[in-house]
């Protein structure tokens, strides 16, 4: 029986990247930073939500049609309903698909889905659907169906806290792949957000729900967006990203993503794992401390760099973190791709097989139970390493361009370079850290 008891997702990591590749990646990041700084445009080109090439009107009306919105809500309810069923009812064997559904299909799957289609979780989120039905019953509009209005200072902080909690669950919590732990987390999650929507209306979810914010930030790197006149448009993903609505705590959201991914990379090192396993604090406390330290270091570096940039340009330092947080999104995406691509491919397949037989009784609900896992992706370590480094460097370049465009818009003309240098230094530091972790951890 023992081997049937659920154990962690994976147990496999990619080989460390070769030193030459890490050095080449770091050099490329440095060179591109200066290329952007020295040669790129001098007047802002990204106009956020104001621009974009409008798609035919029927696209907008189809996206906004109640029929499609209800189809997506029902799909969301079915997906979450199935996951809840396996988490609550099915036996907690290693073949239970709950962990794979939560950590791989949902969390990692949100990345490609959002990059292709935009903020998909907003359309699927069952909490939103439940609240909509409640609001309908009371005859109020869901946005204003709260008891009080959402205070502006709250910003993205609830989402940052939610992301940190989820990262803790995924990376630190003992037995995080077992159904009781998954149930406990998502029951608490549902409780928090139901209270949130009852008190503040559905606006709470716009900035308070970690997964909606995650999906919306990555969706900003999709080629699709909505223009200020309401039309669905195609636009340069970087111009799309430029339209990210700033708010307090946005930088914290992105720093949690970066810090937790870096921490996950660190835990790939046996030496580090052995250190925290042997810690007198106990593995969970030591892991919690490690995760918080990683996020705090990333945040402190960001606060320092934006503070120096503010000082160099004479802009109020308080306005700086929010002004450049969007530029970290591509860097975070590069980290995520580098760390989770093969895990997504391998564990995604395993989950797709497991969903057909959630009770381990030999049934085949969706016809996938008999499939095998195609593990051939692992047979190309050089390709994997190249994709990892390529993703990190590409994320760096896109982040540098985004920061550059924002700099030339915000900073006084004669201070642009002085303001940009600390930001470039910060991005190079993040990128080199990411490469170093891929090489050494």
């Amino acid at each position: 029986m023992n081997e049937l008891v659920a154990h962690g997702i994976g147990g496999r990591q990619d080989l460390p990247i070769p030193l030459e590749l890490a050095v080449a990646g770091a050099a490329a990041a440095l060179v591109y930073s200066f290329v952007v700084l020295a040669l790129a445009w001098r007047e802002s080109r990204f106009d956020g939500d104001a621009g974009g090439l409008a798609l035919p009107p029927w696209v907008t009306s189809a996206v906004d049609s109640p029929a499609l919105q209800w189809i997506l809500r029902v799909v969301g309810l079915l997906l979450v309903g199935y996951t809840a069923m396996v988490a609550y009812v099915a036996p907690d064997f290693a073949t239970n698909p709950a962990a794979g559904l939560v950590y791989v299909v949902f969390w990692l799957g949100l990345i490609p889905a959002s990059l292709l289609l935009g903020p998909v979780w907003t359309a699927l989120n069952p909490v939103r659907t439940i609240h909509l039905l409640l609001a309908r019953a009371t005859g109020a509009a869901p946005e204003s169906a709260g008891l009080r209005s959402l205070p502006a200072w709250l910003g993205y902080w609830p989402a940052a806290a939610g992301l940190l909690a989820f990262a803790w669950l995924e990376l630190v919590a003992p037995d995080q792949a077992t159904t009781p732990v998954i149930r406990a987390f998502f029951t608490a999650y549902l409780g928090v957000h139901l209270v949130g929507v009852v008190v503040f209306g559905s606006r709470w979810l716009d900035r308070g729900d970690a997964f909606e914010v995650f999906s919306r930030l990555l969706g900003r790197l999709s080629p699709f967006g909505r223009r200020t006149d309401g039309r669905i448009v195609v636009r340069n993903p970087l111009a799309n990203l430029d339209g990210t609505s700033a708010g307090s705590g946005l930088a914290a959201v992105v720093c949690v993503l970066l810090g937790s991914t870096a921490y996950d990379s660190l835990t790939g090192s046996p030496r580090f794992v052995r250190w925290y396993q042997a810690s007198p604090l106990g593995a969970t406390a030591a892991g919690t401390l490690g995760l918080l330290t990683a996020v705090a270091l990333i945040l402190a570096a960001y606060a320092l760099a934006t503070g120096v940039a503010g000082r160099a340009t004479g802009l109020p330092w308080r306005s700086m973190p929010g002004a450049f947080a969007h530029a970290l999104v591509p860097i975070a995406l590069g980290y995520l791709v580098a760390h989770y691509l093969t895990l997504f491919v391998l564990e995604g397949q395993r989950t797709m097989i497991a969903v057909s037989d959630p009770f381990s009784d030999g049934s085949d609900w969706f016809g996938t139970a008999g499939y095998g896992v195609d593990q051939s992706v692992a047979n190309h370590p050089t390709l994997i390493a190249s994709i990892q480094v390529g993703a990190i460097v590409l994320g760096h370049v896109l982040g540098a361009i985004s920061a550059h465009d924002r700099s030339v818009r915000l900073f006084p003309r004669d201070r642009v370079v002085a303001g940009q240098l600390p930001l470039m230094a910060l991005m190079v530091a993040y990128t080199v850290t990411g490469l170093l972790l891929l090489f050494a951890a």
Binding site: E3, G8, P174, N379
Partner: protein
Amino acid sequence: MRTVRPRRLGVRGPATVLLALTTAFALTACGDGDDTGAGSGTTPGASSTPSTTEPDASDEPSDPATESPSPSPSESATEPEVPKPAKARIRIEAGTVTGAPDRLPVVVGQTVRITITSDVAEELHVHGVEELLALPAGEKQTLEFVVPAEPGPGLYEVELEGSSLLLFQLEVQ
């Protein structure tokens, strides 16, 4: 009103170079990778598909045992020098691991021999190759297996199932 200015050499050029470089990396990698795609669509181990109908794990170790005396001719043809067995001798006392390497580098076809003594009853689990071994308290046990081709290159955790204690990582090249 925007003034029309000549386009500077923007990031478009370097970005193209980056893409070209990445593609070049990718292509060389594809060329180098040895194709083991023949049986890649299936998982071999019975241990990876647990089912309630055949609960006996007892006949599992007999499979590699029958194979080990005569290595298949195809393997010896492609790999003329079979590396010596990779060994690890580990002792676990009060949750502390001694003698374990950080990573044990191995290649496909190589024998791995893990000799382990645990002060409490545990179960040894090698991820990826899905080898399991019961460890009665205080008894020296040896797990021996040949690194199969299937999970492919990567780092695989070798851990104690009960306490989730990481012993080391098997580094399959």
